[in-house]
């Protein structure tokens, strides 16, 4: 009796593992197919430009405003702590390093996942539910090349730019609060920042992070949309899954990338 119960549990565990691996493999094959068939999206670049508009330009306001506020809060909080040690001139270093290395790519990626990723999933899922994708196939148009690939490349191109804008507007917010409001010396704020922030080690690693997040988020978004069950419920579930999975993926990837980039590099 007990053995049968245990057997059922083990079978369920095995089922979960194999279906997860199957889904991962399907998603990887989907990505490979997508990249191989993105010739149309890159040749007819206008398709991709329209998607950059939806994923990038329409995310601008939320990215700039939240970057500004994150920078202002960092500046306020950092000043409180730094002035205890008489190191309030290092405020610029604190704001710039935390934004460029971590918060810029990660928070911009999270916002991008919820703002643009969910929209991509819902759009592709609805196209599938209303049989637009099937209709394209009937007309011998590959829906992956025509619909999915432009959205993928649009997201991948937009994400690093959004992360850079987030960092820049955050540093500006930190400057506003730190220098204009609190009164940290402007020269020390910028010169200490410039002395401490390294181009290849900090800025470029941040850009690499944002590119990786961009690929991960849009990959998850287009895959969930393409794979969604063609019902109203299926599309809504897929949209939720996109936001949850890509947020977790960003945080996990961020940990791995940080461990690779910034450990041992502090020499």
């Amino acid at each position: 009796m007990l053995a049968a119960g245990l057997r059922a549990q083990l079978e369920r565990l095995g089922g979960v593992v194999t279906s997860t691996i199957w889904r991962l493999g399907y998603a990887s094959r989907f990505l490979a197919y997508l990249v191989l068939h993105s010739g149309t999206a890159l040749r007819r670049f206008r398709l991709t430009i329209a998607e950059i508009y939806f994923a990038g330009v329409l995310s601008l306001v939320i990215i700039l405003v939240s970057g500004l506020f994150v920078g202002m809060v960092l500046s306020l909080q950092g000043y409180e702590t730094l002035q205890r040690f008489g190191a309030s001139e290092s405020l610029g270093v604190l704001v710039a390093l935390s934004l460029v290395r971590e918060l810029g790519p990660v928070v911009a990626g999270l916002l991008f996942a919820s703002r643009a990723g969910s929209a991509i999933t819902a759009e592709i899922g609805l196209m599938k539910a209303t049989e637009q994708l099937a209709a394209m196939e009937m007309m011998a148009v590959d829906p992956v090349a025509r619909v999915v690939a432009p959205r993928f490349w649009g997201g991948v191109i937009s994400m690093p730019l959004l992360a850079a804008l987030f960092s820049a507007s955050g540093i500006f917010g930190g400057y506003l609060i730190g220098v204009q409001l609190i009164g940290v010396d402007a020269g020390a704020f910028w010169s200490q920042m410039q002395a401490a922030v390294d181009w290849s080690n900090d800025i470029m690693n941040g850009v690499i992070k944002s590119v990786v997040f961009g690929v991960a988020v849009t990959w998850i978004a287009v895959f969930e949309g393409f794979d969604a069950p063609p019902t109203a419920e299926g599309v809504s579930r897929a949209t939720t899954r996109t936001v949850v999975t890509s947020s977790l993926a960003i945080l996990a990837l961020d940990f791995i990338l940080t461990a690779l980039m910034f450990t041992g590099g502090s020499r």
């Binding site: 690093p160 820049a168 540093i171 922030v197 181009w199």
Partner: protein, 157 residues
């Protein structure tokens, strides 16, 4: 929304995105000042380098004249060999002294160069003969305590 409006907005978006990257590179990381100016390598041996790090500044009279390029350990003399990249604009005499100094009490450590009086100038690959190691706080304190203890003994006699 028609095509040209979308194109315009995407153009604006890409332009300000690249401008933000440029701002981060130039204004925040100050890439411009680390231009690949001509430099020459100079080595120096130190008994103790303290907390000196690669890419740390090399200063003379408080002005940054180069960067620490490499720090190695010499297995024969049991000393640290510090390689420095000095900018070619700055020439130093052959008998220049190199010291490991600290900026402020808790600041980072840097190599300070003090020019000598020799007529010949340093060339690429030269080694500085006169060096002074980093001050290790523990050694300083123990020296001070020993001196104090010795003074106290003298006074009792």
């Amino acid at each position: 929304m028609n095509r040209s409006t979308i194109d315009l907005w995407v153009g604006i978006f890409v332009a300000i995105g690249l401008a933000a990257l440029l701002f981060l590179s130039l204004k925040v990381a100050n890439l411009a000042s680390f231009s690949s100016a001509q430099s020459y390598k100079v080595e120096a041996k130190f008994a103790n380098i303290g907390g000196l790090k690669v890419r740390g500044p090399v200063k003379s009279a408080g002005v940054v004249v180069g960067r620490v390029a490499d720090i190695r350990f010499d297995n024969h003399s049991f000393e640290a060999i510090v390689t420095m990249n000095l900018e070619s604009d700055f020439r130093f005499p052959k008998d220049t002294t190199a010291k490991i100094l600290t900026s402020g009490i808790l600041g980072e450590q840097y190599v300070g160069l003090e020019a000598g009086g020799d007529a010949t100038m340093l060339k690429d690959g030269d080694r500085l003969r006169l060096t002074q190691s980093a001050v290790v706080l523990e050694n300083l304190i123990s020296q001070f305590l020993f001196n104090k203890a010795a003074e106290g003994k003298d006074e009792k006699k």
